[in-house]
Amino acid sequence: MSTQALLVTPAAPIESMLQRFGPPIVILAIVLAVWEFLVWLFDVPPWLLPAPSQVAVRFTRTPTLWYHTGLTILEAFSGFAVSALLGVSLSALIVHSRFMERGVFPYIVVSNSIPIIAVVPLLTIWFGFGLAPKVMIASIITFFPIVTNTTRGLKAADPRILDFMHSINATRSEIFFKVQLPAALPFIFAGFKIAASLSLVGAVVGEFYGSDRGLGYLVITSATQLRTDLLFVSIIVLAALGVGLFTLFGKLERLVIRGEVDTERPT
């Protein structure tokens, strides 16, 4: 009994890291090895399916990669930031005004059902080939999840706490900042996480059409020139960005939100 208990005691940090990341790394290594071997065995042409080693080489030999990546991040982040600012403010308005809720919500729903790809050329006509249309697309595509989640969160405040606040004559802004907004934070972060990956999609889609830089441009040109190794590099970078953003917001969320989900005990 006691030896069994010893076996399940928490492992040392390095050991637990190994336990957590060991298996997926092993699996990945196996998949890459099989892939490499099959490409070699059947002599697959690189334009059809490059070997992992070829992709790795391309990754190190594309000096402009970080320039394109940086640009896409800038567009995605700007779009996200604009959307977060406008979205959270609009949600606050919606929650405080029945008129705004009834008047604005239908259009938010409609805007979400417009295929964004169809809007890209229009924005390009209006705003040219610079950063602006990409930022706009990123912000349009992220607006819906931010507004809907934030609105739901602001309405999630305990009605008895609201009664309590009213009974002590609290002002609207006191109620908003002390009760509604903190109560909405988990919802806001849920919206932000969805929006973060969508903002990348928006920026890349914007770059597909009429752009000579950014990861979207890299995807399109490498595809049309059959530089499949470069296409793989771009896709991998985009995937890594998506995972990175998601993790970042998860970490931020744990930093910002206190209580309930927290298991640490202050002494």
Partner: protein, 280 residues
């Protein structure tokens, strides 16, 4: 605020007065008569229990007093002013059936919430919260978040939160009905201690007969459809109340009287005291 005591000696004006109060809620099935013809006067420092079945309008009555809801008819006055004035003067401390604490604030920060709203001097807040938590034996838990506290502890936090800025009227809506028997008995005694030391006026809603009799100076028995006051039972048991009293004959007689009033039976002839005398 000095009253002409002599002129009013025979009938001190009540702290809370409701006259002919009615509330009609609109609903899909037509208007709901939640309360009709409610006349109620509560003296300063009195502990009044509102006892009645679910749906008889007890919560509605508390919401009326605290100006969270306007009556459809009748008047409500607190200190001779409309209830809204009393709300603006932060006279009401509200406690609900569920603790309704903010999960992202520690016990102490939850108690501090109203102090941040009612213009309590910032430099005194910390000390005030600490002494309040000490009163209910939670000093050790002041840094704990609600999910780390038991149901009874959370309700204690909710009670001192409602007392934090020293409001004169405590409104409690079935505050102990979600607690187990032992915790409930403990909190009832704690509440009586707090009430004795802090000199509050309490409106205490419950559907537990023995709880109402144990705590109150007066039990206002209500009945439903439409919600109204059926009868008032004066509890002339000595204070301080102790758990032993629950077994005494006078206590049990009062419980029976309240139960009969709840059932809608007329006052029995065995009623120990003259039924019409008010607590004076």
């Amino acid at each position: 605020m000095s009253d002409e005591g002599a002129a009013r000696a025979e009938a001190p004006s009540p702290l809370i007065r409701m006259r002919g109060v009615g509330v009609v809620y609109p609903s899909a099935q037509g208007p709901v008569n939640a309360l009709t013809g409610v006349d109620l006067a509560v003296a300063d420092g009195e502990f009044v229990a509102l006892l009645g079945p679910t749906g008889c309008g007890k919560s509605t009555l508390l919401r009326l007093v605290s100006d969270l809801l306007r009556p459809t008819s009748g008047q409500i006055e607190v200190r001779g002013q409309p209830a809204a004035a009393a709300r603006r003067a932060n006279e009401f401390g509200f406690v609900f059936q569920e603790p309704a604490l903010l999960p992202w604030r520690s016990a102490l920060e939850n108690v501090r919430l109203p102090l941040e709203v009612v213009d309590y001097p910032a430099s005194d807040r910390q000390a005030r919260c600490e002494s309040l938590l000490e009163m209910v034996g939670l000093t050790r838990f002041r840094g704990h978040y609600p999910h780390e506290l038991s149901g009874g502890m959370k309700q204690r936090v909710a009670i001192v939160r409602a007392l934090a800025w020293n409001p004169s009227i405590l409104l409690m809506d079935e505050p102990f009905s979600a607690l187990d028997e032992l915790t409930k008995a403990q909190l009832q005694d704690d509440l009586l201690d707090l009430w004795a030391s802090e000199k509050k006026t309490v409106l205490f809603v419950t559907h537990n007969i023995s709880e109402a009799v144990y705590l109150a100076d007066r039990v206002v028995v209500m009945s439903a459809h439409p919600g109204r006051i059926a009868r008032t039972v004066t509890i002339d048991l000595p204070r301080p109340r102790t758990a032993d009293q629950r077994e005494t004959l006078p206590f049990l007689a009062l419980v029976r009287e309240a139960r009969e009033a709840l059932r809608g039976e007329p006052a029995t002839l065995t009623t120990p005291t003259t039924p019409t005398t008010r607590a004076s």
